[in-house]
């Protein structure tokens, strides 16, 4: 049984390709655990998945980025700016404005004028869940993937590219998630306390 070798070689190869590295240690451990527990079929499936993930070239996906916002125009401005710097640009950005009373509308319009894929939609009914549903309804039917980001977050330039990777390579993946860290620059003492608690959990 040389599953682990296969996975390691694959990991090293992908690493040499200079891109999307499979965490081969983790893959080996998962597969070995399954073998040790006598779930050979499952181990085989896991191996196939990891192989697919590393090699197969998935189809191009259309992606909508969806944002829900309320009265946070400065933060939203930073979010939208970070979306413009993406390695993999979104095909559409929908901003649902949940009854903002500040200059959110102007902020979005300013972005739209130079980047027409950004759209703003008004939703009077308050609540994060129904605002998220509204973003889904407003986003293009033709998009294969919807990505959510919060209005108080700034995306790394690799964000969307990395988030779409697993969805591109494996049809069975229905959802992909990433890592949320906390900024320390403009943190209030309380914000820092909370983010410290969270960061302390990172292994």
């Amino acid at each position: 049984m040389n599953l682990s070798l296969a996975v390691r070689v694959l990991g090293a190869w992908r690493c040499a390709e200079g891109g999307e590295l499979v965490d081969s240690e983790r893959a080996v451990r998962t597969i070995q655990e399954s073998v040790a527990a006598g779930r050979v079929e499952e181990a085989g499936l896991q191996l196939i998945r990891f192989l697919k993930l590393g090699t197969a070239e998935g189809a191009a996906l259309r992606c909508s980025v969806l944002i829900v916002t309320r009265n946070r125009c400065e933060l939203l401005d930073r979010t939208l700016s970070s979306l413009r710097r993406q390695r993999r640009a979104p095909d559409e950005v929908v901003v649902v404005d949940n009854a903002s009373t500040d200059t959110t509308a102007e902020t979005v319009v300013r972005h739209t004028s130079s980047w027409p894929i950004v759209r703003r939609v008004e939703e009077e009914w308050l609540g994060i869940a129904c605002a998220r549903n509204r973003t889904l309804l407003e986003s293009s039917e033709r998009s294969d993937v919807v990505a959510f980001i919060d209005d108080d977050c700034v995306a790394d330039s690799e964000w969307l590219y990395q988030l779409l990777l697993p969805l591109r390579y494996d049809e069975e993946v229905v959802s992909a998630g990433g890592y949320v860290s906390f900024s320390t620059e403009d943190a209030t003492p309380w914000g820092r306390f909370y983010s410290d608690q969270r960061e302390a959990l990172v292994p």
Binding site: D23, R26, A27, T30, Q46, R49, C63, L75, G127, I128, A129, R132, L136, S143, V145, V146, F148, I149, D150, D152, C153, V154, A155, D156, E158, W159, L160, Q162, L163, L165, P166, L167, D170, E172, V173, V174, S175, A176, G177, G178, Y179, V180, S181, F182, S183, D186, A187, T188, W190, G191, R192, F193, Y194, S195, D196, Q197, R198, A200, L201, P203
Partner: protein, 229 residues
């Protein structure tokens, strides 16, 4: 039932399928992508939730296919929330996590163990599941054990065994604070005290919310919460 935090997000991997029917995995709504054809048949997000709607979707979605985490998809969250907003947020999470549990609980008694130290700290394992005519969800966490220890000390008027138990669980609970050597002692004590106080308040808030839903719910840890919004 749900695993309310998502530890596996720190590695590039498929999230393990959880064998216990009550446990599910989810990604925070601040940084997540869904395949549209999987999400739309789930009837979207549940509009009764003011928070925890991503958890709720995760519970249903995990039945449909694989979940994959990629820590390289990075998002930086602002930490400049004023205290009032932060407290509102904690309370919202404390209340709505209970409601998500209630939505998927059907008259049973479930006890979950939250790992105490090291890597297993993040793992939550179902210890016991019984069908009884009252919904009860109990998370055995370091915080809960510490409280049991403290009550034991009071009830036994300082029995040495109870004191030893309280000291041990206290050490486990506060370990993550002690382990952070880069902060000063004053700040460390402040943080530890603050964390304990907030946990204590939120434990009672979520317990009360549980009772309101005719459900016995004991769980809260600030550092085990889901993503902030």
């Amino acid at each position: 039932m749900i695993i309310p935090n998502q530890p596996e997000v720190y590695t590039f991997c498929y999230l393990p399928r959880v064998r216990h029917r009550g446990l599910a995995l989810f990604f925070p709504g601040a940084n997540v992508a869904y395949r549209r054809k999987a999400l739309v048949p789930l009837a979207y997000f549940d509009e009764r939730f003011q928070s925890g709607e991503d958890t709720d979707v995760g519970v249903r979605l995990v039945q449909k296919g694989e979940l994959f985490s990629n820590p390289k998809a990075k998002v930086v969250h602002t930490s400049n929330l004023p205290l009032r907003k932060l407290i509102e947020q904690w309370f919202r999470i404390a209340v709505y996590t209970v409601r998500v549990f209630y939505k998927y609980a059907n008259l049973c008694f479930e006890v979950f163990m939250r790992g105490l130290v090291g890597d297993s700290r993040y793992r939550q394992v179902c210890l016991c599941e019984l069908t009884i005519p009252l919904t009860a969800v109990i998370f055995v966490s370091p915080f809960l054990l510490l409280n049991v220890g403290l009550w034991g000390v009071v009830a036994s008027l300082g029995h040495p065994l109870a004191v030893a138990f309280a000291l041990f669980t206290g050490l486990v609970y506060f370990w993550s604070d002690f382990a952070r050597t880069r902060v000063s002692l004053r700040r460390l004590l402040l943080y530890a005290g603050l964390r304990f106080a907030i946990n204590l308040i939120l434990l009672h808030v979520s317990f009360a919310e549980g009772l309101r839903n005719r459900m016995f719910y004991v769980n809260y840890e600030l550092d085990g919460t889901k993503e902030v919004r």
